[in-house]
Symmetry: C2
């Protein structure tokens, strides 16, 4: 039988969710993965399959159906491979992880917004906004899983959903000097994030990769568009990020050239 095909982009957090789930289920080898370079026009074959919009990830099922949206793909894969369930099966437990899942965009939007900010006078407000989101996660975990480290016994659905963003937010540490304050207010969410970051199923990206590939975002560009004066995106596949120097941290004072970025 034909394998399902996952169209993904290596550093995309939504794509990584699918990678994590497949790793947890030990189904990584049952899926064919096609990497898409988002700095290039989308392949015609993919455009025809998705009828236009090609936000990644996209899953082509074994019988040729197209599934979009990372959370929809997660549920689909968790259902077609029912062994090692990742989502909770008890209705109340499932409701708890669904409530936490519904907080995802409120959490990641301010992080990406801050990374892309170009106005230094807004930094304090953006920091406060980010801390507010961590505090909300802290409250939720404190209420539903006070002892931790995970929401339930093991790294599961909620951790699959959030871990890619804990990893992406390494860019806030590097470009904005943001780390979660060592205060009781954030103790439970810090415990959660640390346990998520350390989990063997979630090691698809490294800090170095995230920081190098997201440089253009730190200059206000996004998803393959270019900052002024540049000719190659920091998201290109070649040269490989491992061979490039670390980007300058001072995003508000300096705009790195292609050459400085090793592009």
């Amino acid at each position: 039988m034909k394998k399902p095909i996952l169209y993904h982009m290596p550093v995309c957090p939504f794509c990584q969710r699918v990678d994590i789930l497949l790793t947890l289920k030990d189904r990584r080898d049952d899926i064919e993965v096609q990497s898409i370079d988002i700095t290039q026009p989308r392949p015609e074959a993919l455009l025809q399959k998705t009828h236009g919009p090609t936000a990644l990830p996209v899953l082509e099922t074994a019988d040729g159906h197209i599934v979009k949206e990372s959370l929809v793909i997660l549920q689909y894969l968790d259902e077609i491979y029912p062994e090692r369930p990742v989502a909770q099966r008890d209705p109340w437990r499932r409701a708890v992880e669904n409530m936490l899942t519904r907080m995802d965009s409120e959490f990641f939007m301010p992080g990406f917004g801050w990374l892309r900010n170009q106005d230094p006078s807004r930094r304090d407000a953006l920091r406060e906004g980010m801390l507010k989101q961590y505090a909300q996660l802290n409250d939720f975990l404190q209420e539903h899983a006070p002892s931790g480290p995970f929401l339930f016994e093991d790294f599961g659905w909620a951790e699959t959903v959030f871990t890619p963003f804990f990893q992406r937010f390494w860019f806030l540490e590097y470009y904005e000097g943001f780390t979660l304050p060592d205060e009781p207010r954030y103790a439970r969410v810090r415990q959660w994030a640390e346990a998520c970051l350390a989990h063997p199923a979630a090691q698809q990206v490294t800090k170095e990769e995230v920081i190098k590939l997201y440089y253009d975002f730190s200059k206000g560009a996004g998803n393959g568009s270019l900052p002024p004066g540049r000719t190659r995106s920091s998201l290109v596949f070649e040269p490989d990020w491992r061979s490039r120097p670390w980007p300058p941290k001072n995003k508000y004072e300096h705009s790195a050239t292609d050459a400085e970025l090793g592009l």
Copy 2:
């Protein structure tokens, strides 16, 4: 055994989703419903249970757990009452309805945004924005359910999610003169919306009720806040909406008083 308690507000579209699902499952009598007047401070007992945020609906389960977010509540109820399932059980079918469900906020946000708009020069752009959303739904239905009228055989999960907004958008017809153009571009979504509006499980609100209760939104106020010069919200429970006159349609030229609105 104690019944689950649903805290809801009668004209709230998210609350109506839960009412529709319970009606489809013939479980309306298994739930105790407590109506919340959002023009008043929230009852202290509810605040204590939800730990602050009290966006409606809120479900208190039979054993005292609190479930928030309409889609999470729908799934929880569909699972604890497994007879007459509303969500699809086949993974691919479930993925289809989940993809459509993920389009919900892109659909309803522009509708509410247009209702609350106070700048007549923006009307054409807002109309275009709304039509774009209908076109997207049309494309989705055309791809996955070309013959219709519903996404699958019967009124189900996707219809439960969207019908309250087809009904709320009666306010666009009244206050903005918006109706879906009679063009092939929108034929499939019109067929869907009409079948949804006609379904016996979805008759919790009437056009008159929606138009009278949402008057303040049409003047740019929201969720119980008051337009200038007014002392009572159009969302109050008393006087009952049935006893009030129809509000003036000319939202851009005139601001109705409490007396004109029968408040």
